[in-house]
């Protein structure tokens, strides 16, 4: 035996309420604080154009698909799997809406059901290869991404399909609440639902343990494969939902733009894991991160800064935030590292 007589540390007198730690609190709100600073900076530069509710309401609505996509990603990420295929699933979903609704005149309600079903199917295919054939999730979802991108190009003849049923457009951007189009609130519904599942249900605990310690989870009676399967199907369904919102926002189906969402969505997922509940992928953090990045890009665009700067901003913000977070936390194990 190798045990050494280590003294037992003294018990701090204390109850079971976690103590308020200022450092932790600052870390939790740091990104929100930087977001406000960013808004203030752009506001100072462009008081008229930037600092008006119309600008923000458009931003909130037009980034709703990206927000849902970021939320989709964090489900399998929490369970320990990467789903790179969400961007292509978004495109597939909006492409299907265009083809079935516009070209084949199918009723929009049925088309949406099909789109969601196809999203679930994509998740199942991913899960089949990842869980049952034990192929790394990164490889599988990279493959299905390319596969779906090809299918969409075939399906749409690589053309943008306009003229999607006005009912969908109206439902997504037709109405406003507090001046913000409905699209934003759909994203909010997803956040609240995910927040509930992650933090207030046994399922959320299972998801977390499956991601952090598969063997621990298995030996504690958790059906690890079922949880991973469910997480991948959920991300497929949510990515499809993001595609529906995207089709509604645009009023058309664009066979190419989905992939442009992928990297920002991943950036937001990881950036979000540095805030609200630092160290964990968490829905509110992801939302804050999406709109933080959106604010930066919107502001920069309005300043007339060339397009390439937005990519630099996305990537730079991600690396910087995650690095700062990792340094302040002394390299302890988190979802990010």
């Amino acid at each position: 035996m190798t045990e050494a007589a280590t003294p037992i540390p003294a018990t701090p007198a204390g109850g079971h309420r976690p103590a308020f730690r200022l450092g932790r609190f600052i870390e939790r709100i740091a990104l929100i604080f930087v977001w406000i600073l960013l808004i203030a900076a752009f506001g100072a530069a462009m008081p008229q154009a930037f600092l008006n509710w119309g600008n923000f309401s458009i931003m909130f609505a037009s980034y709703a698909p990206a927000a849902v996509l970021a939320l989709a990603i964090i489900v399998p990420l929490t369970a320990g799997d990467y789903d790179l295929s969400v961007g292509a699933t978004l495109t597939l979903s909006s492409g299907l809406i265009g083809v079935l609704n516009v070209w084949h005149q199918m009723p929009i309600g049925l088309v949406l059901v099909i789109a969601i079903g196809v999203g679930a199917l994509v998740g199942m295919v991913n899960a089949l290869f990842i869980i049952y054939f034990r192929i790394p999730s990164l490889v599988v979802t990279l493959g299905t991404t390319s596969l779906m991108t090809g299918i969409v190009q075939w399906m749409t003849n690589s053309s943008t399909i306009g003229g999607i049923d006005n009912a969908l457009v109206m439902a997504v951007v037709g109405g406003r609440l507090f001046g913000v189009p409905y699209a934003f609130y759909y994203a909010m519904i997803v956040v609240v639902a995910m927040w509930y599942v992650f933090d207030y249900t046994p399922l959320g605990r299972k998801l977390l343990f499956v991601g952090r310690g598969r063997e621990v989870a298995r030996l504690n009676g958790i059906a690890v494969d079922h949880v991973r399967f469910g997480a991948l199907v959920t991300s497929g369904v949510l990515a499809s939902a993001a595609g529906i919102i995207y089709a509604g926002v645009l009023g058309s189906a664009d066979p190419y733009s989905g992939l442009n969402f992928l990297l920002p969505a991943f950036a937001a997922a990881f950036l979000g894991a540095t805030t609200i509940l630092p160290g964990r992928f968490n829905p509110w953090g992801a939302i804050v991160a999406v709109y933080f990045l959106a604010t930066g890009i919107t502001g920069l665009t309005m300043l007339g800064i060339p397009l390439w700067v937005t990519n630099v901003f996305n990537g730079g913000a991600l690396i910087l935030a995650v690095t700062i977070s990792q340094l302040t936390r002394g390299r302890e194990a988190t979802d990010i590292g």
């Binding site: 035996m1 050494a4 037992i8 109850g15 046994p202 977390l208 063997e215 009676g221 302890e332």
Partner: protein, 528 residues
């Protein structure tokens, strides 16, 4: 005698206040196969680590290699320059790379020229394998090799490492084999011995470390035995008997155990679980009965199969056969057992690998504590965090977890306190059968006492315990009965007055001899 390859003189090592090695001296002659024996904690591994340069010995000792004094402490990697190499039990091969890449690893990663001549590397590797008549394909991946081929390859690689150094100095080298055999089948061990003899025939020496006395007596020329950090015996193998070796290892003469003692379990209490024909990777079909409220220990030398039992019963590892019946109910096939089902049957398993299989360090104590039964805190549509924290705090108080703040991450606790949390997790569920694997490994002395007390109290109230452990002291302290395994079978049962630390250790060593008899007795009637 020729100039010894390795000569140790008064090598000592103290950790804190504990003496791990108290001035050990012995020498290894050129071309000699030298056995190094001793119980766990006898100082063998400390000695190996000093030679490998992981530990600095206490000042005052002397180490000569081929007659030249070596500066102590050795730095990691120094051994290679001297002409010494090691094969550890895990062999140090990369499973996903080829035989060639593994064999030439050191050369390929340190070569001065930026270009790798694969044709020449392949020829060199082929030559190294052919030298010992091994027909292993150089392009085969390590994970496609049999365990024996892997062990042989690791030894060939170790010899290749010293061959270069030896060619430069013109002097013999030394290969140190640290428990290379416990997971090999019999015929594999024979092949390995053939290789060891070939190496010795080149004039280099081999140090062979093993728990298996029969193996050591078969292959070695001389044997050095360590006990409690001191030299306990120096024997010429040809002239030594099995009893003398065992005596040197355990420190006193022991009576051979009667073969009749494994006729069946002697239960003094009603049976709770009957395990029938349980077999795993190394465990051969074994029948075990665990009494209600009994703490049953299973042990043996490393690789003897006992360590699989808790996992097989819990459905955590694939079994070859077996069933288990609780309280006289219908038997359940072990192949149909899953951790989920085991938990539903009120079984609990505390794995030996605390960080990899038992708890998640990066998540809070409270979540670790209630992992199997978090659902019971789901009330009125939400998980009651407050109730979880309150109960976790109460449990932490009962099991003396320090610091007792359940919102901390598990990593904030010492090894012993983390183990208390994980024991509390299972005990709180009041299991009918608790399965343990090395429950106090890496746990401080104070915690050990607390864990023992908790186990005994729970057993007194009717919980049955199956404890797999290599720690004889621990088994002697908590168990009502201990089963000794060797080569996958139960050989002896120890109860009553024999159930002491020394009694268990002796039985483990004696069992090797019995296993030899059991293995060869049945088929041939005309044996002399």
């Amino acid at each position: 005698m020729a100039l010894p390859v390795l000569k140790l003189d008064g090598i000592a090592k103290t950790f804190g206040g504990a003496r791990a090695l108290a001035g050990v001296s012995f020498s290894v002659a050129p071309g000699e196969v030298h056995g190094l024996l001793g119980k766990n904690g006898s100082g063998k591994s400390t000695l190996v680590k000093i030679l490998a340069g992981f530990h600095a010995p206490d000042p005052g000792g002397r180490l000569d290699f081929n007659g030249e004094a070596v500066d102590l402490p050795l730095k990691p990697g120094d051994f290679r320059r001297l002409g010494m190499s090691f094969v550890h039990q895990n062999l140090g091969l990369v499973p996903s790379l080829t035989v060639l890449e593994n064999l030439r690893f050191a050369h390929l990663t340190t070569a001065k020229s930026g270009f790798i001549d694969w044709r020449r590397e392949r020829a060199t590797a082929r030559e190294a394998l052919d030298r010992f008549g091994l027909s292993i394909d150089t392009e085969e991946r390590i994970d496609r090799l049999s365990p024996v081929e892997r062990a042989l390859l690791a030894i060939v690689r170790a010899f290749e490492e010293i061959r270069v150094a030896c060619a430069a100095t013109g002097r013999p080298g030394l290969v140190l084999l640290d428990e290379p055999t416990p997971f090999l089948p019999r015929e594999g061990v024979e092949k390995l011995f053939g290789l060891v003899r070939s190496i010795a025939a080149t004039g280099s020496s081999v140090i062979f470390i093993s728990h298996d006395i029969d193996e050591v007596m078969t292959i070695t020329d001389r044997i050095t035995v360590l006990r409690d950090g001191q030299l306990a015996g120096s024997l010429v193998t040809r002239a030594a008997t099995h009893e003398q070796v065992v005596e040197a290892i355990v420190g006193r003469r022991i009576a051979r155990l009667g073969v009749t003692s494994h006729t069946g379990p002697q239960l003094s209490r009603p049976a709770f679980a009957r395990i029938a024909a349980a077999a795993g990777t190394t465990l051969e079909p074994s029948d075990i009965t665990i009494g209600k409220g009994e703490i049953l220990g299973v042990t043996g030398l490393i690789g003897s199969g006992y360590e699989e039992l808790p996992y097989l019963v819990f459905g955590a590892r694939p079994c070859r056969s077996g069933s288990i019946a609780f309280d006289g109910a219908e038997p359940i096939a072990l192949s149909a057992m899953t951790p989920k089902r085991a938990i539903d049957l009120d079984l609990a398993l505390l794995p030996g690998d605390r960080q990899g299989a038992s708890g998640v360090d990066s998540l809070p104590i409270v979540d670790n504590m209630f992992l199997p039964d978090v659902a019971r805190f789901f009330r009125g549509g939400r998980l009651s965090r407050g109730a979880m924290l309150r109960e976790a705090f109460d449990l932490g108080t009962r099991y003396e977890v320090r610091p007792n703040d359940p919102s901390l991450k598990l990593s904030a606790l010492s090894g012993g306190n983390a183990q208390k949390v994980l024991i509390a997790r299972w005990m709180n569920r009041k299991p009918r059968l608790l399965l343990l694997d090395e429950p106090t490994q890496g746990v401080d002395v104070g915690t050990r006492v607390q864990i023992f007390a908790a186990l005994k109290a729970a057993a007194a109230s009717g919980m049955s315990v199956l404890c797999a452990s290599s720690d004889a002291e621990q088994l002697a302290e908590i168990c009502d009965r201990v089963l000794i395994f060797a080569r996958g079978r139960i050989l002896t049962e120890i109860t009553g007055a024999d159930l002491t630390k020394d009694g268990i250790a002796e039985a483990c060593y004696a069992s090797i001899d019995l296993a030899g008899h059991v293995g060869t007795a049945s088929p041939s009637v005309h044996a002399s």
